[in-house]
Amino acid sequence: MTTLGDIYSVFWVDLRNMRRHWKATIATSLVLPLLYLVAFGYGLGRGVNVGDLDYLSFVIPGIVGLTAFSTSFNGAASKLHVDKFFYKSFDELLMSPVRSHSIIIGKSLIGVVRGSISAIAIYLVGLILAPTLLISPIFFLMLLLSCFVFSLFGVLIALVVHTHHGMGNFTTLVILPMTFLCGTFFSLDQLPAVAKAVLYFLPLTHSANLLRATVLGLSFPWLSFVGLLIFGVAFFIGCMVALKRSSV
């Protein structure tokens, strides 16, 4: 029980912190995905088909996925980064009796909250634009799972990157390209086999597959489900190792 209590305590302080500026936080996370939705989905993509789907239905789950991805990642990573280097309050956590696994999960939850709020907001806009999308519980489960995995990724990066510039560079060089390439805006089937294979080694690809399948009622992509779980476990283990190393 202490584990659950500890996770909540770690999460509690981030939640308190977010409460002060939650409107701006959520609003800013919606700007980019809404622009994508309008420009690519509604503007460019009208009348285009991907396989036997219209492009708008294809791209909406992709944009929901990339929103979950970038908002969860940034939500978890930026708060932890601030705690480490600006508030310096992360040390307080390390000196407390709270165990590493509770710190990691607790620190990821703010990303889950921010990511899922933003992604659901985009999904609701998507429902208006393309009423054929399904409202399914499995979709929401997959969305939560995706946000959790991406938040753990954010925690991991904030633990191993030690400078402000480093964080910025990582976002521009790794996160941003991933949001475009991982089957969000175009189908990976159009790509050469090598490129496709590479993209399958990125977590967002699996998340986009899962979200698209569950929101359009396609057959459940078990491979991507397992793939996403593996990423989650890998990020978590990475975080444990990084925390252990941080005390040298």
Binding site: V10, L94, M95, P97
Partner: protein, 287 residues
Amino acid sequence: MQDYIYTENLCKNYGSVKAINNLNLNVRAGEIFGFLGPNGAGKTTTIRVLTTLTRPTSGYVSVGGYDIRDEIDKVKKVIGVVQQHLSLDRDLTVRENMEFHARIQHLSSSKRKQRITELLEYVELTEYADKMIDMLSGGMKKKASIVCSLLHEPKLLFLDEPTVGLDAQARRRLWDLVRRLNKDGTTIFLTTHYIEEAEVLCDRVGIMHHGQLIAVDDPANLREKVGSIVVETLVDNKDTHYQFFANREVATNYVKRLPSEVKTVIIRESNLEDVFIEQTGEKVGDP
């Protein structure tokens, strides 16, 4: 008396920098122990090792009677730490920060309320409890950090340069608070590079220099060892020389016999800075 902090041949290297170099230290239960040393002496590194944040390169360390390697959870329960830099969530209020610390120290919800009210009163912060940390003055921020470290009633409190940046009055009020905590049963380990602070506040003082402990004793003994009277002379109007004497009489005799070219002569009681100069050949603050 029991040793609350005990280190044996403690070393911490950062690459080729020996931040702590063979430190043998003991702090007794109930005392205020001062760790005095210039910038870069290794004070913060020592605190980080003693508070489990940094792992030592080699050597044995026990804190509160527990081995820092095997009994880290027990160590964490007995220590409270106020870091050199502010380490509170600045976008939260004093109360929220306290609540957070109380939670991660596993205090029950009723105990949390009680301790928070108690401590706010103890340091006279009650009326600022719901102000954001960023709105507080430097002295109040320090107090807020201190109460956050006290919620779980630690037996041993670490204070890393607690009075840096405070005005003379705030500094004295903080000293009073430290004394009061000590009287109420908390062992205190504090670092400082203010000579005066070590003299008036600490039962014993350790002088740290380049990662090594060069002297440990109570302030009066330390002064006596180098000589309780100092004669400062200015030679050629540029170099200050220090001579130490056991008493004023010997010192005055020495001054009488000085050659006439030596113009400026000061005779005064020695302080810890003199101890430092005598031991290292440098002044506190010299690189």
